[in-house]
Every structure is written in structure tokens, then in C-alpha cells.
Symmetry: C2
Subunit: 238 residues, 2 copies
């Protein structure tokens, strides 16, 4: 049971790279595109150029696979100086579609841990990206019923988390965010005085890296696996 006098804690989980594989699929896709474009550009140059394009387009596209695909096409045109062929661009587009239709692969221990936590805590999912794609993935994951609420958001900043706390009438003390991104899941939550659990994924998109040295160390913990969450909570919760 959750601690506190009748207090039900809300445990909110990020989805991509916290519940299921995501960044590794982007990396594989990027490698395929890199191989395709080898006649025009080396892998390292393509990688840095793609990141530049993605960051430039973020303000227009937001997060998600469709924006990533458009940025890959734009980068291909740029690095090939307009020599990339229509067929090669179609291959890039197909790679993006492959990402959109890729089956969900849950990370180890996800289902059993969520089922264990489900009795004692109010579980929420907070994920950013394309609304339509994320809803498709939540449906495909088979995890939807374990969450009492699911929020797909366009950005994970303190303002977004504040809105969610307000919407669900939650005090910061009653809220714990679990995720793989210091920038999106940990720092903005700690900034509000709520708690966060950082579980790094095998790869971090460069845009999501952050320096956590200024964050209140009382309010966040790092774990190696989601399976360690239930054991941590009794000592970590207020």
C-alpha cells in the first residue's frame, strides 16, 4: 500500500524507451538511410546534419516519426546537393512508414512491474510525440488498461506537468514521474517539487541529454531497471 494517511500516490510513466523500445528503432532506421546515402555522404556527416535539420524543424514539426521522416528527406536533399533520386527518397519515406508500423517491443519486466504497482498506486502514462501514432502504439502495447489516465503531450516542460497536476488535483508530493529522459521526465518534474525516477535507456537522443547537477537530489533517484521501482518507492515517497 502507498504510505501516508489515505494518500494515493500517482505514478506517471513515460512510454518511449521507458515502457517500450523506441530510440533504438530510430537508430536502426537512420543507419539504413545512412547506407542508402553512402554515395553522397559519410555516416558521421549525415548524422550531424540530420540532428541539425531536426533541431531546426522542431519548432514547426514537434516530436514524432512524421517530422523525423520529413527531416531525413530534407537532409538527404541537402547532403547530396540535390542529387538524391526520387527512388531513394521513396526508400527514406518507406523507412519512416516502417517506423510507424513497427510492432511494439516492451522493455524487460514492464508488464509484471506495472501489474504489481497497479493495486497500490494510481498509474498514469505521459508521453510526447504524434498523437495518432502514440495512441496506435498504446493500443498495440496491450498496456492501456493498466493506466487510469493517459496524456499525450506536445512538450514535457514544467508548464505541461503543472497543467496535468492541476487537471487531476494532485499535489506535487503525491506525484512521481518515471522515465528515461533527464530533460523531459526528471528535471521539469523536480523543478515543480514533485519526485522523479530516472531509468536510462541504452541510447539517448542527443536532444534529450541534460545536466542534472543542479536538481534537488532529494527529489530524484536513478535505477537500472523498471523492476526496481516497487522496492524503491517506500523509502523514496514522502
Amino acid at each position: 500500500m502507498a504510505k501516508g494517511p489515505g494518500m494515493v500516490y500517482c505514478l506517471a510513466f513515460d512510454a518511449d524507451d521507458t515502457l517500450w523500445h523506441n530510440e533504438s528503432l530510430f537508430a536502426i532506421t537512420q543507419e539504413q538511410v545512412s547506407n542508402l546515402l553512402r554515395p553522397y555522404v559519410d555516416e558521421a556527416t549525415l548524422g550531424s546534419q540530420l540532428l541539425k535539420t531536426e533541431k531546426r524543424n522542431l519548432r514547426l514539426f514537434g516530436y514524432g516519426v512524421k517530422g523525423f521522416t520529413l527531416s531525413m528527406i530534407e537532409t538527404a536533399i541537402e547532403v547530396s546537393q540535390g542529387r538524391v533520386t526520387a527512388r531513394e527518397i521513396q526508400t527514406i519515406l518507406d523507412a519512416g512508414k516502417g517506423l510507424l508500423s513497427h510492432p511494439i517491443e516492451l522493455l524487460p519486466h514492464v508488464r509484471e512491474t506495472l501489474e504489481e504497482l497497479n493495486g497500490s498506486y494510481n498509474l498514469m502514462m505521459i508521453t510526447k510525440g504524434d498523437l495518432y501514432h502514440q495512441e496506435s502504439r498504446i493500443a498495440a502495447s496491450g498496456l492501456g488498461d493498466l493506466f487510469s489516465s493517459i496524456e499525450v503531450v506536445s512538450e514535457k516542460d514544467p508548464q505541461t506537468y503543472r497543467k496535468i497536476l492541476t487537471r487531476y488535483h494532485l499535489e506535487p508530493d503525491a506525484f512521481v514521474m518515471v522515465g528515461n529522459s533527464l530533460r523531459s521526465d526528471i528535471l521539469p518534474v523536480v523543478e515543480l517539487g514533485a519526485r522523479a525516477i530516472y531509468i536510462p535507456y541504452e541510447i539517448t537522443w542527443e536532444h534529450e541529454t541534460a545536466d542534472a547537477s543542479q536538481a534537488n537530489p532529494e527529489l530524484w533517484r536513478q535505477l537500472a531497471s523498471i523492476r526496481d521501482v516497487p522496492r524503491l518507492l517506500p523509502e523514496f515517497l514522502p
Copy 2:
């Protein structure tokens, strides 16, 4: 004041082509792309091929400008049999970006009507499409503060409306949807026993057309302009 013993009615508004221009911008963009591709294909063939591509991709992309842009690129490759150049594809991509960054143009009488209704009714916005793009447009419209809640959804079917009614503890009798799409704003709402007001826009995307002859005529009305909504409500509400 709203009728009924203490009942506060919820008036929900669609956004694209109900509050601001949208489909006309898509049409202008499509015409630009059509001119660009004139060396490969005539306008009518391009139009029908694009609609086919969009419908085929809808299951993967959902609604919104990014999916539209990817479908335009795919169609250009297809109709040119791979002869379209990288520069032409970049032009299509730029046209998509132009749509994403286009300033919001409110439809006539929108602001004054919403301000008039705001005192007596609970106003909601329910719009489908790219989450990030719709949020950007809502912010740019300056209308956000007039709505007590805003829902960006991936599809407007009876299930979606049922979820919203449940989420806000609304009986169908207390809910009226206002929008320009028979398929998305009127039929699914009437199916639930709630009310709807249909205000056609100058253009309707072919995918949004529908036959309303089977819908309960007691539960929906057609108006020429949003300015007529306040006058209609006293006789239309239960």
C-alpha cells in the same frame, strides 16, 4: 442564460474550417504543387492520385499537415514515375512547412460570437489533427482563453465523443457540437443522442463528406454562419 433548471450546457466547437480557415490553405498548397508537377501530370490526375495516397496512408499517418506533406511527396514520385527531382521534392516540403507556419485567419464573426456565448455556456474546443500543430494554432489564434477545455483528438468517432462526455461528466442532453464536417462533427454526435450544429465551410475535403439523411433531424440543424448560433440555441436546446 442557458435553459433548464440550473443546467449549464456545453457548447463544443470544431476548430479547422469552423473557427479558422484551413481547407482553403490545403487547396492553395495543392494547386502550387500541381503547377510544379505540370510537366509530369495534369491537375485532375494529380488530385485523384493524391486523395488515393492520403486515404491509403491515413491508417499510418492520421490527420494533419505532416502526413499530407509526406503523401504529396509520395504522390509526386508516383505520378512522375520517379522522374521528379530532389529540388522539386524540396519545394513540396517547403510548401508543407508553409502550411505549418501559416498565420491563423479567423472566420468572420468568430471572436465576437464566442465572447457572446462565453457568459452563458461552457465552451469547449474539440479538434483533430497533429497535436503539436493544433496547439500552436490555438495559441496563435488568441482564442484559447475563451474555452474552458480543449481536446485534440486523433479521430472524431462516437467512441471519442463518448469518452469526452464521460471525462467531463456530461449527459448527451447537455452537449452541443458545432462544426463544418457532417462526418466528424455531426453524425457521431447525433448518434450518441447529443445535439449538433452544422456550419458548412466553402470547401469540404472529400474524405469528410457524408450522407446525413439517416440522422435524427430533431438533433441537428444547419446554419450559414457561426453568428447565428446564439439565436438558434434557445429553441434548439432541450
